[in-house]
Assembly symmetry: C2
Homo-oligomer: 240 residues x 2
Amino acid sequence: MLEITSKNNTKIKDAASLKLKKYRQEKGLFLMEGLKNLEMALRFGNVKTIFTSVGLPKIGKQDIEVYQVNEEIIRKLASSENPEGVVFICEFLKPKKDKKDYHKIIYLDHVSDPGNLGTIIRTAVAFNYDAVILSEGSVEIYNEKVLAASKGAIFAIDIFNDDIANYDYPIIVSTLNDKSVPLNNAKKPDNFILVLGNESHGVSKEICEKATDFVKIEMSDNIDSLNVAIAAGILMNFYK
Amino acid sequence: MLEITSKNNTKIKDAASLKLKKYRQEKGLFLMEGLKNLEMALRFGNVKTIFTSVGLPKIGKQDIEVYQVNEEIIRKLASSENPEGVVFICEFLKPKKDKKDYHKIIYLDHVSDPGNLGTIIRTAVAFNYDAVILSEGSVEIYNEKVLAASKGAIFAIDIFNDDIANYDYPIIVSTLNDKSVPLNNAKKPDNFILVLGNESHGVSKEICEKATDFVKIEMSDNIDSLNVAIAAGILMNFYK
């Protein structure tokens, strides 16, 4: 294993640049940390480089660069306050399934909070969804807070940006309108796209016009709405 | 309305000290921001002081100090990156109901993430729970991230720290063990305490020994667990 001792080393500077969306998009690479995430990435993703200040699981792949570094470098590259001693670079994720094999899709229309997106990805994996698809204008998949909240789940599901018009499925929209059916009375199609909207503005008019079903989670008048990740969790547990 | 122009004014320094848990606990006061939160606080809480750089809703109460301040002071007192121009001081919350009138309680055993706690409080209000009770060692209720995630819901429900031994209700524990019943087959008692545990360690052995029911949310093997706020949301939607 090669050793890097200076945080001004080009490899380290290049890796650190991936903390910015601009460079991630330019290079098609993202930065992640933690041993559990690394295990998921090695199983399902395409890891290019690993920086470690601790021991590593056995890596069977030949084309991964591994560097021994010190804790100062780990802290420079990591996002968490107490990093575990492993930071790695991955290629952007590619869908693993053919689109025609999708049965259950969750579509996020301008969801903007990274913690919400990460939690929704984790929940979608728990309930065997095939894909998480994001509208343009949603939070970036490789935002460090998305990655932290997803707990490695991003590697276990197809996730990408696309226009809902490219999918010919029944569209179930979660919203409060006159047509919304309480969730417990809703029917469950075999294949569908479940749509959740922006934290403040809900699902856009364009998508509502294409919807085949509107559902609502019944709740108290004392509060305007549920957090979007909570609503997604309740809906995916029903439509699973 | 009195005006304060210096961020070194004693009133401002005293208010800013409430950003630290130590001073909150010492004074029994906490700091919050935002117009919507202020409206909730004026309806259900006990507001002591308001600092504003913008207009205010009409305040009917005589004993609230209101100060006109500049945006620099608002930024010093607020926690969010783009504060709305209103920060206020509240007294610690007091339960509004008598304990014997509680029907549905959610009990959080060492839940440590403030975003999770805030989201669970918001969900508990949505599903008409009577109280959110926290074990000792849980995250502090008045942590700024709890308040932000709760979206004002902390004023609409009883929330405090207490030992579960003080409550004589059926105890439903969410956990994965041999006795756990899948949620859809679970029975719904009229009165109960629903228990969720720490993000990493789950529900403690002591509470599991007192449990009357164990339930689980069925999910894929591809993931260890759901986020605790998501699990709480799915469970509270069932036990509502």
